[in-house]
Subunit: 117 residues, 2 copies
DNA sequence: CTATAATGTGACGAATTCGTCATGCCCCTG
DNA sequence: CAGGGGCATGACGAATTCGTCACATTATAG
């Protein structure tokens, strides 16, 4: 319904977005990640996909989640540290977080049922 | 500070943990993910690492984040709880999402003020 | 102990990424 | 026009994973 395997074609966009968000050009990211600039270009144009190790290195270098790079989550919590709301949520403790959880879960469930009918 | 590159040796453990958490044996996970059982075994014993595509497929099949599988986040925040909540949040639209935003923001602000005094 | 299930291990050719490098193409600035 | 930054593209051999399969080893029963 919402998580069919997304076309792996999302990755190039996400990578470029994250890189530009960090204000880096391909060469700078390449150096940070210990790769050749051409490797970054290949990733962003979709002619190659990163290996297991390089995927993690890229995520580390850009300080984003791998789930964001893979298109498994939307922008929300994607650019990890940068999102205000997400930070707020993460700052919640105990009963406060539970309250937020319950509201969101309830809303999602209600919306889903509405969609069904 | 908190995100040094972890040894890629964490992945085999995480994969096994997640698989067992879902109550699957290697063959069942293999079928779900469209792979051979031996592939799962190779991953869990560390003799192979999954490719870009297979990593995502594994995360999908087990309903965990790739960041969890890669050891980029700590233990159980990555399984069911927080991440499912984020997906719920992402599924919200319009006024529902706004409502969730406002609650979270309000709670965070309130907690912050409380901490100050 | 004996089956049976579950997992581990290692081969095979095919496919892909690896790192490295050269080259071409824009776009801008001088 | 000349130079340079940024990016795209494609080659090369080396390394790795791919899917598939056979077989060994290790639990878990009955």
């Amino acid at each position: 319904m919402h998580l069919s395997t997304p076309p792996s074609a999302i990755f190039p966009d996400r990578l470029r977005r994250a890189r530009e968000y960090r204000g880096l050009n391909q060469a700078e990211l390449a150096q940070k990640a210990g790769m050749q600039p051409s490797a970054i270009s290949h990733f962003e144009t979709g002619t190659r996909k990163p290996s297991f190790d390089n995927l993690r290195i890229l995520a580390d270098s850009l300080d984003v989640t791998t789930d964001y790079l893979l298109g498994r989550v939307e922008e929300f919590k994607a650019l990890a540290g940068a999102d205000r709301l997400h930070r707020h949520y993460e700052s919640l403790e105990g009963s406060d977080r539970k309250m937020a959880d319950e509201l969101i879960t309830m809303l999602a469930k209600r919306a889903e049922e509405k969609g069904k009918s």
